[in-house]
């Protein structure tokens, strides 16, 4: 299960995502990402961790086809196609749930299908199935404002998964939730992924979340973001939240924190404390 370092080489054949020398510069001249190179194996779970403003979200927007690269190449899947928003190969869940306020929870979840003009009967069936998978069966007809923050984020996750995309991008989807709820979500996300493995790239601020979920942790430098270190998480699954307290979990955590401290001055780094 563990991913080795050499398999991160984007030249490796059969990768789900290959990013070569990616650079993103915004119109104002701000360089968000520079010379970012990474290969991602199909069916693997990658966590990307780094300080605020290091270009993590920008990276996901490039992968989702929302932002064109300024430099370098990004290729998805065996066919090596460029990212293209809405082609069904990528599911994206944002930091905020971003539900449409006037649509019911079910209509929000099936929004990708209705944009694709999938017939109403099929939409309804698939939508209810997706709601069941994230535990929202009872809330299909409710409006987003009637849902708690956690339920809204579940609905957003169901929407990202409704087209069954081979690649799932998660941009700190649980960051607005309280710590306990968040741990529960991490376990649920692991269950969803184990039920139906697909390539996942998760952007997170939490070392614990990254270790609980990922095969491999990518640490990023401060802006402009590059890959700083790759840390393999060779822990058996299904993982439990307590694993950070155990020996191997603690070793990996220390390794990740050291990697982060290398690229961030200790006085600015939240990761070296304690």
């Amino acid at each position: 299960m563990a991913t080795t370092f050499d398999r991160s080489d984007p030249a490796t054949p059969g990768l789900a995502v290959r990013i070569e020398g990616l650079g993103v510069t915004f119109p104002g001249g701000t360089q968000a990402i520079s010379d970012f190179t990474l290969g991602v194996e199909p069916g693997s779970f990658t966590a990307i961790i780094g300080p605020n403003g290091c270009g993590k979200s920008t990276l996901l927007r490039v992968l989702a086809g929302l932002l064109p690269p300024t430099k370098g190449r990004v290729r998805l899947g065996d066919a090596g196609m460029e990212p293209h928003a809405g082609d069904g190969r990528v599911g994206l869940a944002f930091q905020q749930p971003r539900l449409v306020p006037w649509l019911s929870t079910l209509d929000n979840v099936v929004l990708p299908l209705s944009l694709d003009r999938v017939a109403a009967a099929e939409r309804g069936a698939r939508g209810r199935e997706a709601l069941e998978r994230v535990g929202l069966s009872g809330s299909a007809e409710r409006r987003p404002r009637e849902l708690s923050g956690g339920m809204q984020q579940r609905a957003a996750l169901a929407r990202a998964l409704i087209s069954d995309p081979p690649l799932l991008l998660l941009d700190e989807p649980f960051s607005a939730l309280d710590a306990l709820t968040r741990e529960g979500f991490d376990l649920e996300l692991q269950r969803l992924w184990l039920d139906r493995p697909r390539t996942v790239i998760l952007v997170t601020h939490s070392v614990g979340e990254a270790i609980a979920l990922a095969d491999r942790i990518v640490t990023m430098t401060a802006r402009p973001g590059r890959v700083a270190r790759l840390v393999a998480v060779d822990l058996p699954r299904p993982r439990r939240i307590e694993l950070l307290g155990e020996r191997r979990g603690a070793e990996i955590e220390a390794e990740v924190r050291r990697a982060l401290a290398e690229v961030h001055p200790p006085e600015l780094s939240p990761w070296v404390a304690s």
Binding site: V100, L111, L115, R143
Partner: protein, 250 residues
């Protein structure tokens, strides 16, 4: 249910207080009917106008003008407002003309429009639509501009086409603001119809006002026409609010 009863009660009470105050002014002032008729004089004149059929004859004409003028003006304004909201270039090119057209007194322009467009119903509908246009177009533009950019990005990530972005997100999210414009617009449609009739028409409540006021010195009849216009304005405003409540559920 109690809510509706108390609201009707409040309206009736306010109506009674208004009538009593009106009556008080005529009694204290002792004005002749052609300056300020008493409420019961107006009511009696209104009854006669209804019985003779003259009131309905003029009201029907004005109603058609209001409905058509409002419909034409609102549809054109919403379409223009969407374009203005979506394209900065279109806004820069068009907005000087739109603002200028709004600043020019329609009262001065109406006789010309009446000549240009043949002096019939078409001319009157256009004058009415012109008055209605501005508040709805501006409201639509502002509403479209205030679309949540995070939701727009979410829809783009799902591959929404520009047209889907407009119909699925921008217009629905602008609806509360658009309805603000429609509420203003529908009351202006009443004024528009009267102004259009003054520019050249042989029937309508505007014409009735002119006949009563300048031809016959029948001030009570003029008050009947004004009251009818006020009731029409209230009814259409209420209708817009009703549609708004039906449509906007979030």
């Amino acid at each position: 249910m109690g809510g509706i009863v108390s609201r009707i009660g409040a309206a009736l009470l306010s109506f009674a207080v208004f009538g009593a105050f009106w009556k008080l002014v005529t009694v204290v002032g002792g004005y002749p009917d052609y300056i300020l008729p008493a409420p019961e004089v107006v009511a009696e004149r209104g009854l006669r106008a209804i019985v003779s059929g003259i009131l309905w004859q003029h009201t029907a004409v004005t109603l058609v003008e209001i409905v058509l003028g409002f419909a034409v003006g609102a549809v054109a304004a919403i379409a223009t407002g969407v374009a203005l909201g979506k394209s900065l270039l279109i806004e820069r090119v068009l907005s000087p003309y739109i603002v200028a057209a709004q600043a020019v007194p329609i009262l001065a322009l109406a006789p010309l429009l009446d000549i240009w467009f043949g002096g019939g119903l078409l001319a009157r509908v256009l004058i009415c639509a012109l008055i209605v246009f501005f508040p709805i177009a501006i409201a639509t533009m502002v509403g479209i501009r205030s679309t949540d950019p995070l939701l727009a990005e979410m829809l783009r990530s799902l591959g929404a086409t520009p047209r889907q972005l407009t119909t699925r997100l921008e217009i629905p999210s602008a609806l509360p603001v658009i309805f603000g414009g429609l509420r203003v617009g529908v009351t202006l449609a009443v004024i528009g119809a009267v102004v259009a009739e003054w520019a050249g028409a042989s029937s309508g409540l505007g014409v009735l006002i002119n006949i009563a006021n300048q031809g016959l010195f029948d001030t009570p009849l003029m008050f009947v026409a004004l009251t009818t216009l006020a009731v029409i304005g209230l009814a259409f405003y209420g209708l817009v609010v009703l549609v708004e409540r039906r449509l906007i559920t979030h």
